[in-house]
Symmetry: C2
Subunit: 467 residues, 2 copies
């Protein structure tokens, strides 16, 4: 079975656009700059502009748009904040970019149940601003200020996942518009359920290929009584990674544990005007009661010491901590600044923790043998790490070729170790050709599901499921 | 769209049985007692014996059986330990009961990664025996010594879910035999992934209707340095439930918090020869370092005191703790012993924690108004609680009618409060008629998935997806 790929006929497209114009008025745009902006994500992937951009405001509008697009066989590509990394929003076959950024209401916050419901266009920073007065927070933090809808669709995670889980663990339910233009609800507000297929988890990470996610019910967490962060440098990368392995095996619930290698630390010092040693470094955070945070810090400090770690440099007050984590979240921009004018190609893999040291060290050796400047950072508590390839526009073809080979070897290495080709960035178009290597014949099961729920292949065609 | 329901033709069945006999020899049984045993679970649901029982030993055998059954259009009902509660294993349309209990090998334990791979027939107690020497444990504990395959298929949880999650959070990957008789693998050993549809989570809780689960990769946990358990009686049910709500909102990671109402405590005292007060009671467990366990206990004790709780009765050494939790796990048998000779009908719902007190109190009032003896127990940290209906065989028709009405009202109440019709028992046949009330039109999406993955409706037909 192969999935059909649509290219809209001009007349079909015209009819569809005329229906959408009647529905949306000037919230339907065919302006070139708007289309360009919606055909490109935050990485190096080529622009594929949609034929038009629909700025929607309600579930009902999305449902009407889906019905019109299905009638005229026009592809629909949901768009949140445009910060995805694997070409997820490229309109490969033209069609409508469904921009959900104006669906940006926090619909409800249930303080007593630690949950909330948001529209898909709410961003993670907006949500956390909203929650602050209730002393609650939503922990999932990919680097960018992504939309909750996009984070759901790509199964995002970030620095807090080691303690609080990823979008997989933190989405309780969804509103989704299916291929018939019906408004469906999945999940409930209860913390667990055995009532039928887990449609919520099927849609989390489906990258807009099975339906349009318009509302998300999220788990929230209380802001801990005490929070403490620390930075610790190591003489060797192996020492840093082995510390992480020991911490994870100890069962201590560290809230964050991030690795930045010496290349990345150098970039960070330059970019953020900091003075950390240019050595492999771990950034830790501990959450809990005052006493429990102290005990965790002490126990982790002992484990770091055994692996050649230096003393902890603490950041206990909020301003200091914010500076530290802003620096961590700026890692991408700091690394980009290493080669001004370059395009960035971030990639990530995830492996079982016991293979993490080996995987990172082999990757570091592979990079060094290629004489390239490639920083490594990682959410290493999960076994997840990232490389950033810097593409020189003056040498683009050669760079792309070399990085593609490095990426192929990285993913082959991760899969051999029992890992995955992407821990948190998703598949899009950038990783679609690794799906069979990772999943084998299970890809066929994905295809059967895609075919069943989107028989005309109009929802974000060409992504996730290989042809 | 409606799912076809098969009744095997005699000649088709004969041909299939002859193929299976050639494959399995005396591991295919058509003996009446074996068939009876495989057509009935641990609850009151009627016996629906299969036409034959196949005792399988390998993935390859399961694949061959599926192919033969598909060729001859014979239903296949996977069977683990027979301890499910909603008629999951009833052979409604005859066919083959696929008994996986002889696939009982622990295939690998990765101590450093805190994971393992088991065959579907391994039971939870067998697994924990196996893990003890490595100082690891698998936390999910439904009352019965269920098979890991069955626990996966029903998305089981139990007393530890409040801290360690359910099968949803603890299954990393699966081997599954699909409707074409192919042996598929889902997931990897990495802790997180954004690589494609979450087939693992789709199959967890699918109750044998989408494929046959034969191997499970599980997350494990280190046995904590310190474990402490305590029992606390309350003057009122509201006081006990409100304590749980306060604890959950505090974010303290209690490992277990179980509610037993006064009816259940009376039953427990009689059955296990104990002397607890006949009052609403909470059973707590705290895990962590010595200091952290002490701090958690103290903080939870303060919250209980504010809600009218008595002093904590401690069980710190292992033998005492085991006695306490054995008593809790015996709650079902203890309640059954209240009316010797009765059949048990356990039911469960799950609601947002803020509605828990209201839901339990309304349910208690509803029971009391009916002049029935119905104990309430619950994994209340999750908002999950259970009733046990005791059916007198001498008055079966009347009892069934009355309990059905009580169950209908219970579920209506839970759904109205944003809950689910089953927190952990599953759908089977017992809750199938509540699926539309809970999921609305999303049931159609479940049906599309079922149709796509099992087009002839041979995998456990008549369960989970309403006709």
């Amino acid at each position: 079975m192969s999935l059909p790929q649509q290219k809209p006929q001009a007349t079909d497209l015209e009819q569809c656009l005329s229906e959408l114009r009647a529905l949306l008025g000037d919230r339907l745009s065919t302006a070139s700059d708007v289309r360009q902006l919606h055909g490109k994500d935050a990485s190096f992937h080529e622009v594929h502009p949609p034929d038009a951009v629909a700025f929607v405001k309600s579930n009902e509008e999305v449902a009407e748009i889906v019905k019109s697009c299905v009638r005229h066989r026009i592809p629909i590509i949901p768009f949140g904040s445009g910060t995805s990394l694997e070409g997820h929003i490229a309109a490969l076959h033209g069609g409508i970019s469904l921009d959900l950024s104006r669906m940006s209401q926090v619909l409800e916050v249930n303080e007593n149940d630690l949950d909330c419901r948001v529209q898909a266009g709410v961003t993670r920073k907006q949500l956390n601003e909203h929650l602050r007065s209730a002393n609650l927070f939503f922990p999932i933090d990919p680097g960018a200020d992504a939309s909750i809808g996009g984070m759901t669709a790509t199964r995002a995670s970030g620095t807090n996942a080691v303690r609080y889980g990823t979008m997989r663990e933190n989405v309780l339910g969804l509103t989704v518009i299916n291929a018939e233009g019906r408004i469906l609800k999945t999940g409930t507000r209860s913390r667990k359920s055995s009532a039928g297929y887990d449609l919520t988890r099927l849609l989390v990470g489906s990258e807009g290929t099975l339906g349009i996610i318009t509302e998300i019910q999220l788990r929230l967490h209380g802001i801990p009584e005490a929070i403490s962060a620390a930075v610790c440098s190591f003489e060797t990368l192996a020492g840093a990674v082995n510390t992480v392995i020991s911490v994870m095996q100890s069962g201590l619930p560290v809230a964050r544990v991030e690795l930045l290698d010496e290349v990345q630390m150098d970039a960070l010092n330059q970019y953020s005007n900091l003075d950390y040693p240019k050595k492999p470094t771990l950034f830790f955070e501990f959450n809990g009661t005052q006493r429990w945070v102290e005990e965790q810090s002490q126990l982790v400090g002992e484990l770091a010491g055994k692996n050649g770690g230096g003393s902890f440099r603490w950041a206990t007050d909020e301003a200091e901590r914010e500076k530290l984590w802003d620096a961590r979240h700026d890692a991408y921009y700091a690394a980009m600044a290493l080669k001004p004018g370059c395009k960035g190609w971030p990639t990530d893999v995830c492996v079982p923790i016991s293979r993490l040291a080996e995987c990172i060290l082999e990757t570091r050796a592979d990079i060094d043998a290629s004489n390239l400047t490639v920083p490594i950072v990682g959410h290493v508590g999960d076994g997840n790490f990232h490389l950033l390839f810097l593409i020189d526009p003056a040498n683009e073809a050669e760079d792309l070729k070399q990085f593609q080979q490095l990426n192929d070897r990285l993913i082959e290495r991760a899969l051999k170790m029992g890992g995955t080709c992407t821990g948190e960035h998703g598949v899009g178009i950038g990783k679609i050709h690794y799906m069979r290597a990772e999943h084998g014949e299970s890809v066929e099961m994905m295809r059967q599901i895609k075919q069943a729920l989107d028989p005309m292949n109009l929802f974000n065609p060409g992504k996730l499921v290989p042809a």
